[in-house]
Amino acid sequence: MRDALIISVIFHIVVIMSSVVGLPMLNRDRPTGITVIPVEMVKISDVTKLKAQQKKTDLKKKKPSSRKKKPERKVEMPPPPPKLVSDMPLPDMKSKPALKKKSAKKQAVRTAANRAPRITPKSKPRRFNAGKLAALLDKREQSEPDIAEKLKDRDFGNEKVISTVDIRQQSLAIADAVNKHIYDNNCWNVPAGAKGAEGLQVTIHIRLSPDGKLIGAPKVTDSRRMDMPGQEFFRTAAESAQRAVLKCAPYDFLPKDQYDLWRDMEIVFDPEYMLKG
């Protein structure tokens, strides 16, 4: 009950904020192709593992044609897992009046799904991979077999629209792969013992060629701070981050078909956890 109340309050605030800030784009496209994705929080590593599995098994998949316009489909919404709500941003403006406490969850899910097309990358439509989803669902089967079963039965394979969630999962999988690559290859040597480790988070901006090579030097976004007097620890942290990125290049293990997602990346190195230990 309390959770519901909190969630409801949050959404009210969000909706009000949204209207104040103004999100005209939301009105532009009518929601098409509502794809319901079970947004059970999947461990990033699961996604990554999944990807590995797929490579072996999932080669026959045909590239779906990229029809932009899709007839609206009504999809019965499976009861969303409670956690799901928080992961679903942006209620539709239109639904604002309807937003009530009790319907908050459902509303959120639907609206979030509604806006999915908007964030479809402009470049090329992304393939929706039902097999992958199914595999993900397989994992859930143990805990919630019926939901998984239901979803499996649905013909997602014909969906051509990439959902937010899908992109997020792909992005997270890429982020996870980079994270793992840098860790496993021992690329980041954390500057030890620096005082005030809290402020030593370093963001490195990298650009990659399609074959995963670095284009230009890795850039510290706050590079001015590196040369400031009294910021020696930051400079050390920043240089350790740059070295890590350089040492771990090339990043040729990233999925080629998702180049748009990883051509430009930010890598945030935060030594706090290491230095606190």
Binding site: M41, I119, Y183, A192, S240, D264
Partner: protein
């Protein structure tokens, strides 16, 4: 998986986080991927140190210039290795094969990268007309392919060790962001003879054990020397004339003087951070309290007045607080008070006894000796008593002293005796704040009560 933990926490959602996430999602729907990395390795940085290039034919006292170039490189390597933060990449064969450098000013970065070096030091050495050595070094970032720092020194050949330490300090500072501690000295108590009648002498040496000199001849029992902030004076306890009192020793002049005219034993001396005062304990009629003496006026102020044992005082680097140990609560524990003796607060609450608190030069930690269940530990805690971490453990570890950059702690360790009563040797050890990288400092005889000098200017 860190990221997952983050996300699921995120899902538990606070209003603010949620709002922020949503709005930013709108704004950056097509934004680039952000990879969060908070796990790394704490491995030593692979660095290549090449011999400083010099002519075989130029001879100065003590050998050829080329020979000095090798010696200096050796000492730089030894310093950096001992810090535990660097790993030496073997260079000898590599340089010989010609892979290493096109020229001193143009290292073959890719070749160095191929053998795993992430930093490179090279340089040259030559002799000036006046007989001084000219020593140059450059530090290169191999992966980034650029020079990070470079310095030039002139000195007489007999100072070559100091030059090596200065170079090591410069490299350490450039690569870690904090000051080095290699151009420093240790004053300590050299011990010899049977444990029941130990001969103890004041001795001083470089931080790496070289340039060792005895300052006293061992006739009198001496204990607990400590450096002044200028490293020019030492305060210590001597049993001269069977009268244990705190003395001051001037390293330049060799002059010694007793500090104050106390009726009781004075002991546990330590300089204030500005060097103008010495804080110490006096034991009088069975009670030990803390006093401070203004060195210029010799004015003495009593800071604690208590029937308990109050001793081992140490100032915070800003001079505003003093930490000490006391058994006023029933057993030996660590306390912090204001420099005027007010507002005494106990900060150690773990099991066992806590003693010899020493404030770090950075101010963020207090090092101490802890006794618990028959073992002794060196540990650190924050000045409010939180965040206690034990760094070393043995039969008897005692007496921590901080490197001037607050990263390394030196202490002494006594081995247990065997059944026949043999053994019990004491030696100096260092451990860094991570608790790893424990190393023994080699001394000519047994050693105890080390005190680390500040950086020598």
């Amino acid at each position: 998986m860190e990221l997952h933990v983050r996300l699921s926490k995120f899902i538990r959602l606070s209003v603010a986080a949620m709002l922020a996430a949503m709005l930013s999602f709108v704004a950056t729907a097509n934004a680039r991927i952000v990879v969060d990395i908070n796990r790394g390795h704490a491995d030593p940085l692979p660095i290549a140190i090449t011999n400083l290039a010099g002519k075989e034919s130029d001879i100065v006292s003590g050998g050829s210039v080329s020979e000095y170039g090798k010696r200096i490189a050796q000492v730089v390597k030894a310093d950096l290795t001992r810090s535990g933060l660097f790993r030496m990449v073997d260079t000898a064969a590599f340089i010989k094969s010609g892979n290493g450098q096109v020229s001193l000013l143009n290292p073959a970065f890719n070749n160095w990268k191929a053998i795993g070096a992430q930093a490179l030091m090279n340089g040259s050495i030559s002799v000036e007309e006046d007989g001084r050595l000219k020593v140059e070094f450059r530090l290169w970032d191999i992966l980034g392919a650029h020079q990070m720092t470079g310095l030039r020194y002139f000195t007489s050949p007999k100072n070559w060790r100091r030059i090596a330490h200065l170079i090591a300090d410069a490299i350490y500072k450039r690569l870690t962001g904090e000051s080095g501690y290699f151009d420093t000295r240790i004053v300590y108590i050299s011990e010899s003879g049977p444990a029941t009648h130990k001969i103890k002498r004041l001795a001083i040496m470089d931080q790496d054990g070289y340039n060792h000199v005895f300052l006293t001849n061992g006739k009198n029992l001496v204990l607990t020397p400590r450096f002044s902030p200028t490293a020019q004076e030492i305060t210590y306890l001597s049993y001269f004339n069977d009268n244990p009192r705190v003395y001051l020793y001037n390293i330049d002049s060799g002059k010694q003087e007793i500090l104050g005219d106390f009726p009781g034993m004075t002991f546990a001396p330590r300089f204030s951070p500005d060097g103008n005062k010495v804080i110490m304990s006096q034991a009088y009629k069975g009670n030990s309290d803390i006093y401070v003496m203004e060195l210029s006026t010799r004015k003495i102020t009593r800071l604690t007045k208590n029937t308990a044992i109050d001793t081992s005082p140490s100032y915070s680097p800003d001079s505003r607080y003093i930490t000490f140990n006391s058994d006023r609560g029933g057993s030996q524990q660590i306390y912090v008070m204001e420099a005027n003796g007010k507002n005494i607060k106990r900060i150690s609450f773990g099991k066992g006894r806590y003693g010899t608190p020493v404030w770090s030069p950075r101010g963020d930690l207090i090092a101490f000796t802890r006794q618990y269940k028959g073992k002794f530990y060196i540990g650190v805690m924050r000045p409010d008593g939180s965040g206690e971490r034990l760094l070393s453990e043995s039969y008897l570890d005692e007496g921590p002293t901080w490197s001037p950059n607050g990263r390394v702690i030196m202490f002494f360790r006594q081995q247990p005796y065997d059944r026949k009563g043999h053994g019990g040797e004491t030696q100096l050890w260092t451990v860094d704040l991570t608790g790893y990288n424990e190393r023994q400092i080699i001394t000519p005889l047994e050693a105890s009560d080390p005190a680390w000098s500040p950086l020598i200017r």
